[in-house]
Amino acid sequence: MDMQNFKTREKAAMAEPKIIARDVNVYYGQSQALKSIELDIAANEVTALIGPSGCGKSTFLRCINRMNDVIESCRVEGRITLEGIDIYNSGLDPVLLRARVGMVFQKPNPFPKSIYDNIAYGPRLHGIASGKDELEATVESSLRRAGLWEEVKDRLDSPGTGLSGGQQQRLCIARAIAVNPEVILMDEPCSALDPIATAKIEELIDELRENFTIVIVTHSMQQAARVSQKTAFFHLGELVEVGETDKLFTSPEDQRTQGYITGRFG
């Protein structure tokens, strides 16, 4: 292969979306929660999922790391690929998938363990850090990247549950980062936080974007507008519109998007 050809190929590979969803249908028993979703999620960008309650945002998010597998009645159809690999039909181990695609939930949910062990848990489980020194370094760097290190470095042995809500959420983000994932899914990560804690998380999300691909569900239009590059609007199980966040919040294409983001229905 000549050099020119190689370069164009490399370029094309770089432009390839990190995650591709094609014709994704999700059912809980008889009722359909997602209808033929088609969505590309670009690497190193923040994609915000917005839409009224019950429209299927969390369901879609959970498809990306197969968290729906544990829900008895839930059935997922269609194709979701992570870097071109079909995450449902390629024999990929869901546990390994979840190491590559981490998740942060609405309510901060630190383990009832020390701050240190909260972070060390994942790397130990996946055998990422070999030896005490390396593990310590991983804990510190994860806490630093989550912007929590300065606040907790003197009390790594105290329980994670003793931190404030905002600190707990950053702890959960640090825990997600510790296993070095490629994608971080966040389901309303700030809904239990005050404005200052929220601002810190938003700042953090913006920094994390450099190294991770982030998909965030939020009910705050302003938050979606502030943190994301792409926004996807879901309504009644359909993906109505997806596009550049700037564009979507100034001139959305679809009337339903406009109605929702301007507070005319919800």
Partner: protein
């Protein structure tokens, strides 16, 4: 999804309506000011001209009222999408209307000066030009109140007619000045009046562009319609404050 176009928070709609109504009122006043100012010129009625000068303060006051309403709405509601475009457009349109008002005031001032001089032949042409611009301003306001992008495009194209009229009026005035140098003072006032009316047309064109953006979310593409540019260059140094005594 609700069928209605209303916000869940009703006071939001009320605030948007208030802003809309202020624009409509400002527009009506600006249009009227132009008509009155040219009437004062045609009828050589200095008292009327004085009234036009005084009325302008009301348009300025409305603009301030609108600005305050917009600032408050942005602070309280953080508008997005068509709501955001509505408030940003309101700000832009109101400043265009305020400028139109200023030009009317300037015409009134000049007509007071012209009333001290012998009657001018070019008044008829000024009247024709002013009628056209009044119509354009009126259509622009109609386009605004109906968010009618097609009418906005229509108005936008008609600015060309205004420019052509201005060019021919410019030539007409030049001949009068060459005929008899004693005409130069009055003709210069007439020239600036014509220029003011032409500028009003430009502001109406701005408003048409804003309306298009407001209703579509896209900029009106393409070059602005423009006729002969020579007379504009000659007058470009003029300040439109009406204080110039010639």
């Amino acid at each position: 999804m609700q069928n209605s176009n209303d916000h869940i928070v009703r006071s939001f709609d009320k605030e948007l309506r208030t802003i809309h109504e202020i624009i409509i009122r400002m527009g009506g006043m600006a249009e009227n000011q132009l008509a009155e100012a040219v009437d004062a010129l045609v009828q050589r009625d200095s008292a009327k001209a004085e009234m036009v000068r005084a009325e302008d303060a009301k348009i300025d006051a409305l603009e301030e009222e609108l600005e305050a309403a917009v600032v408050q709405l942005i602070a309280l509601r953080q508008p997005v999408a068509n709501d955001l475009r509505a408030v940003i457009s309101a700000l832009k349109i109101s400043s265009d209307l305020e400028r139109i008002g200023d030009y009317a005031k300037n015409i009134a001032k000049r007509s007071i000066a012209i009333n001290q001089m012998p009657p001018q032949k070019s008044v008829t042409s000024i009247m024709r030009m002013s009628r056209l611009v009044q119509e354009i301003v009126k259509d622009t306001l109609d386009a605004f109140s109906h968010s009618d992008k097609d009418r906005a495009i229509d108005v936008w194209h008609r600015d060309e007619e205004v420019d052509e009229m201005y060019t021919s009026l410019f030539r007409e005035l030049l001949t009068y000045m060459m005929e008899d140098p004693r005409n130069i003072g009055a003709c210069t006032h007439m020239l600036f009046i014509a220029k003011n009316i032409e500028r009003m047309g430009d502001h109406a064109t701005n408003i048409a562009e804003t309306i298009y953006y407001l209703s579509t979310g896209h900029k009106l593409e393409g070059k602005r319609p423009k006729g002969d540019r020579t007379p504009f260059q000659i007058l470009s140094a003029e300040e439109d404050n009406g204080e110039v005594e010639i």
